[in-house]
């Protein structure tokens, strides 16, 4: 019964992530009209699932093991109640924030939820503050890193292509290099993290695939160069294709990174119920990751379409070069964080990347207290989710 409830709660959380959070990964591509909302929903649901199943275990373990010290919690019932409290409080907070249109991070919510039950169960010592501080610093550093990367990528594209006397000629030359870099990063990280084929093999595979793609890109660019009508149209059409790739890359990495928010506590509950012991190391079964991925995909399919349609209609001034910079930077930051085992927030990295391109005079960005909202949500999410989780824990521990 408890396992069933844990599955339902974990699925609900994954569904909420899919419904609300996934659009962040595809928003700029839909906004820049690189893909339609329908295509975005289909692509996102498949890739989020694959990312979650193939790529998700590492971050899941970081959250489960890192925030609450297992040795402090001695009774299995406490850990089960805590897992439920963390999951339910996060789901409620995300749902409430979604209704209010508040920019909260699912990652922040679950970290707060875990910390809340830990404190309620065994006091302040239950929380591994060293890990907590490193996570908190990653929340500050990740948007900064996303912003800096987006700024640099946009400036580089500006310098190498957009500001040239003939941008079409420049993109013909630089395009294959950009294709090479994009493919290299994706394949390299895929090799290291997903296939786990080691550094050397990953570098070789990435080099071969990226070189093939760049050669293919070179001939395609030559063809497009001959039939072009306007220089900037050619440039945009190239970045449109690259942006579709980077959006897929964002979606995949989002699935890998954020599935932990839904299935982390579920993995703890399942482990404790099944084994009856509290282990410092909690294995995450593949079906748990698949359940998380499935929940995200269902969320995207059922509610994501409406959200993406709104985005496609609302963001009218974004073009493909700027969208590519935002997507590429977001994906790279999320994936690198995933490799380092840091549970970062995709929302904040997207924001950092948008601001980065804005600072580089690439896009006009609305203020409307948006930046203030980021800081507010930043500050509010963890204590609120923790408080709610602590209250729920006090109740659940008596029931279970």
């Amino acid at each position: 019964m408890l396992i069933f409830l844990a599955i339902v709660t974990g699925f609900a959380m994954a569904f909420a992530i899919g419904a609300n959070d996934v659009a962040n990964s595809m928003a700029t591509a839909v906004g820049a009209k690189a893909i339609t909302p329908k295509q975005a929903v289909i692509i996102a649901s498949i890739l989020e699932f694959l990312g979650a199943v193939l790529f998700g275990s590492h971050v899941t373990l970081t959250i489960v093991k890192g925030i609450v010290k297992p040795q402090v919690i001695t009774q299995p019932e406490i850990l089960i109640a805590g897992g439920f409290a963390a999951l339910i409080s996060s789901s409620i907070w995300i749902l409430a924030a979604t209704i209010w249109g508040m920019p909260v991070s699912t990652t922040h919510s679950i970290v707060g939820g875990m910390a809340g039950f830990g404190i309620a169960a065994s006091g302040w010592d239950a929380v591994n503050w060293k890990v907590m501080i490193s996570i908190v610093s990653s929340w500050i550093l990740s948007p900064l890193a996303g912003g800096l990367l987006a700024y640099s990528v946009f400036k580089l594209i500006s310098f190498l292509i957009l500001r040239r006397p003939s941008p079409a000629k420049a993109v013909k030359k630089v395009g294959p290099i950009l294709i090479w870099i994009t493919f290299f990063i994706i394949v390299y990280l895929f090799g290291v993290k997903t296939l786990k084929i080691g550094q050397t093999n990953s570098i070789w595979s990435a080099t071969i695939i990226a070189t093939t793609a760049a050669i293919g890109g070179y001939f395609t660019l030559r063809k497009y160069y001959r039939i072009r009508t306007k220089d900037y149209e050619l440039v945009e059409s190239i970045f449109k294709r690259l942006q579709i790739m980077t959006s897929c890359y964002v979606s995949f990495s989002h699935g890998a990174n954020d599935v932990a928010n839904a299935v982390g506590p579920l993995a703890v509950i399942y482990w404790v119920i099944r084994t009856g012991v509290i282990s410092p190391k909690v294995e995450v079964p593949i079906w748990v990751l698949a359940l998380g991925g499935f929940g995200i995909s269902v969320g995207v399919l059922l509610l994501g379409y409406r959200v993406m349609k709104t985005i496609g209609r609302d963001i009218t001034q974004l073009n493909n070069t700027r969208g590519f910079c935002i997507d590429f930077s977001t994906a790279s930051t999320v994936l690198i964080s995933s490799v380092l085992g840091l549970p970062v927030s995709t929302t904040h990295i997207v924001v950092g990347s948008v601001v980065g391109v804005g600072v580089a005079r690439g896009v006009e960005v609305v203020n409307v207290g948006v930046l203030k909202n980021i800081i507010l949500s930043w500050l509010a999410t963890v204590p609120l989710a923790a408080g709610l989780s602590a209250l729920l824990f006090k109740f659940l521990v008596k029931v279970i």
């Binding site: 709104t310 985005i311 609302d314 929302t347």
Partner: protein, 225 residues
Amino acid sequence: MTRFVGKMFPKQSPLKLLYEHAIVTHNAAQFIIPALNSYFDNQSIDQMCTQVDILEDKADELKVMIRESYSKLKFVYFDRVDILTILHEEDAVIDAVDDFLKSLTLNKLEKPLTKDLKDLLFELAQNSFDSVHMMTMAVEDLLTLVESSFSPSIASEEDKLTAKVETDESRTDRVSLQLGKKIYSMKNSMHPVDLYFLEKLAGLLTRIADHAENVAERIRMITHT
């Protein structure tokens, strides 16, 4: 969260709205010569006045949208004051066009104009329209400049265009001066009200070109910062 991502971008690009405003102004300016022709052919220009009124209303709506949008923007391509100054000047162009057309409905000349005077008046009208046309192109090029991430080569193209508006404007000034002299030289043969009327028409046409040139000047300034 998604609404949050959407909110980071303005619903409509203020720069594109500015270009739309320039097109509306251009469309209004297209009535200058047909209205003048109709006036001398003794035909009604009321319909044209109504159409310019409609365009002016549309321009006002766009003006409000641009102002609202700019008040919410954090990172912008150009300084807000510069863009609002350009908008103000574009607005002054459409206002002057409206005034010109309405002025034509106020008075009928007692005597037909001499050919050289009429030719000068038409030349001035054509020059004013040309200035507005070039102004619209300069605003359109701002979009390309942004797309090119402020490429020096695009900025130099923009320079040539704004220089052309300024040349047009100085030509307009010359023709306006000539026309003014011609009008006042007829003080003994023309009814004083007609003289005042023609001088006012010339003044309005010159004002249109002046404001178009102000737009170009401001564009030249912002493309060099």
